[in-house]
Amino acid sequence: MSEAASETAFEAVGGRRGGNPRAWIARRAEGIVLPLAALFAGMVAFSIFLLVIGKSPPELFDLMWRGGFSSWFSIQNTLSRTAPLLLAGLCVALPARLGLAVIGGEGAIVLGGVAAAAIGGVLGGSGLPGPLGIGIMALAGMAVGALWIGSVGALRHYRAVNETISGLLLAYIAIAIMNHLVEGPLRDPASLNKPSTRPLEAAYRIGSIPGTDVQWGLAVGVVACILCWVLIEKSSWGFAARIAGGNMRAAQIQGLPVGPLIVGFCAIAGACAGLGGMLEVAAVHGAANASLAAGYGYTGILVAFLARQNPLAIIPVAILLGGIDASGGLIQRRMHLPDATVLVLQGMIFIAILFSDTFYGRFKAFNPELWTEKA
């Protein structure tokens, strides 16, 4: 039993059994062609839907191009929306490699933002230099986020509480805590009609990447994706995590420290989301308030699944989804379609991507193991 299990686990982490370059390309191609095909299928389904309601698919896709990608203005619009999605996507993708479906990133974002704003308020006026203050705020946001999602992992491992549900419950609780703190103990008395924490002092604000309108959070998100990819694909912890993700019981039997792995990866995921919250506060709002609960955590779910839980793939996927979001306003104004149109498109793409899971390993072209059967 354990031999078969470890073989499965070995395959699950992409263990290679041959050094043939054509085989290598074939396997890699599968991971690109199938998602792209699914994306295309989702868009076709959406186009049919548009035709049924009497709207023009070419017009919509043209507006999507114009609103998201066709001009420097649009590209910046897209990139501004990409920044939080990168970190939110990581919050889902990392535990997913372990086989956990954690979708409560919204809670970690919100509380990370509050923590950062609170620390920033305390440090304000202390004379601490800007970069140091920002660093401390980032650590605070990451710590709180790590605690939040780490709890989800701990509950899953030590108490067998389903992580999808506990994560979502904790997200609702986090938003309630955020509201309570922002309107109560942490409230800035001058923030009359929009209860907020004290605005961060200018030195602790994060600005835009020079020459653009896009905040530095984009760069932070990209770096985080790369680091997480290295963690998962190249480090021994990542290897152990992927084995556990392939077959948890086999991993336990083989003596892998499954508990610490689960809690650790969930904590890192939460830290990413918490960092995202801190960036929203420092780069966008300047304070923590109810606008922090903007739904990035939920869009992050889609980003992670579309990227098939691969941190590097999260980058282009987040840009794509950022572009779709960016064009939403234009579509609403020009085609008089409700803003939910974008949600329908995203839902259809999501379903198509998940359905495409079933085709992995089925097409001969992509599966070198099947090539030898031809003879």
Partner: protein
């Protein structure tokens, strides 16, 4: 920065060239129109806050020389910043109305600094001289309307208990609650008003629960300050309580129980801005107005309203129409017993102190935190 006609002519040229290039605006390129952008935080047909603004915008759609673009459900995040920029860059909007309070800081401020040639007028924002001159704010003194609501409520209540479903304890809401009670107390000093905060601007289940809790405690006239009063009105009327409306006219939802309502009259305000904009005049930066300026209005009195109520309502309205009415005047205590307005002091509706109200007056059951 003074608005000179030359700048507006440039604005027209830019708009019409953009229009010709995009082929969006029907008609010849020579028919230069000004594009006005409206941004709502919720759906346009919510029987409440956003609908009031949309109705105002709708009044502009027939006007010559004006194109209106609208976008709804725009969140108070970088979304609204990008929406504003998109309306400016792609539709060539020259005057924008971001209508939700939370848009002001930092988004409207950022956008107005970045686009000095575009005018931004924000609903309710605390614009001061230190803010960019191409930005500004407008708001209506709807508190006086809640006072009138209170007068009718004071007459119609038999239990002497009123109910108020509020979203968050911010100054604009507190002023409404206090005005409602003070209006009722002008009829009968024994009336009290209980307030429950739902914590969200729009959460149907909580609003229904809050309404039920208020009615359980004996309230028989209910009003509210949430984005969409539809649920409160229906729930209260469904249990046999009277209702006073807010934002827009909810009478169609409960014709038997609807007394009157405090409504916005944004059409008036928007027409003022639009006419000035098209005419190349300077737009005022800080615009406030009350009943007398037709910034706000009252719903027609419902059929259940008694004759004495009607008489007092109309008399008070006449008095308010003269302008400079003070609902909040001393001596006034808050509901914890401390004095908040000294005897002899009166805050007319224009008083800036009202915009930082943080207390509930005596007779309001509830707390701000």
């Amino acid at each position: 920065m003074i608005q000179r006609p030359a700048i507006n002519r440039r604005q027209f040229l830019k708009t019409s060239t953009a229009a010709a290039a995009l082929g969006v605006l029907g008609g010849s390129a020579a028919a230069a129109t000004a594009t006005l952008g409206f941004i709502y935080v919720g759906p346009k047909d919510d029987y409440g806050y956003n609908q009031a603004h949309a109705e105002g915008a709708a009044a502009l759609k027939g006007m010559a020389g004006i194109t209106v673009v609208e976008e709804e459900k725009v969140a108070e995040t970088v979304d609204v910043l990008k929406t504003m920029e998109s309306m400016i860059n792609i539709e060539g909007a020259g005057l924008l109305f971001p209508t939700s309070f939370g848009y002001f800081d930092p988004f409207v401020l950022q956008a107005s600094t970045k686009y000095p040639k575009v005018q931004f007028r924000h609903c309710g924002g605390p614009w001061t001289d230190k803010n960019p001159k191409n930005a500004g704010s407008y708001f209506g003194y709807i508190g006086t309307c809640q006072y009138l609501n209170g007068i009718v409520a004071g007459h119609m209540t038999k239990s002497k208990k009123l109910g108020f479903v509020a979203a968050k304890p911010i100054p604009q809401v507190l002023l409404n609650i206090n005005s409602f009670l003070l209006g009722a107390r002008a009829v009968d000093p024994a009336v009290t008003c209980q307030v429950i905060f739902t914590g969200e601007w729009s959460l149907a289940v909580k609003e229904a629960e809050a309404t039920n809790a208020l009615l359980d405690q004996g309230a028989d006239v209910v009003t509210c300050h949430v984005d969409s009063p539809k649920v409160v009105v229906q729930t209260a009327a469904g249990r046999g309580s009277y209702v006073c409306g807010y934002h827009t006219n909810q009478a169609p939802l409960a014709p038997e129980k609807y007394l009157t309502g405090a409504e916005w009259n944004w059409a008036n305000v928007y027409k003022m801005y639009a006419t000035k904009f098209v005419g190349g005049e300077t737009l005022p930066n800080f615009t406030r107005g009350g009943l007398a300026d037709a910034f706000v209005k009252m719903s027609p009195l419902g059929k259940a309203v008694s004759e004495p109520a009607r008489k007092q309502f109309e008399a008070k309205m006449k008095e308010m129409m003269k302008g400079n009415y003070a609902v909040i005047k001393g001596p006034l205590k808050d509901n914890k017993g401390s004095e908040v307005v000294a005897g002899g002091t009166a805050y007319v509706e224009t008083a800036i102190e009202l915009e930082s109200m943080n207390y509930l007056v005596e007779g309001v059951i509830g707390a701000t935190s």
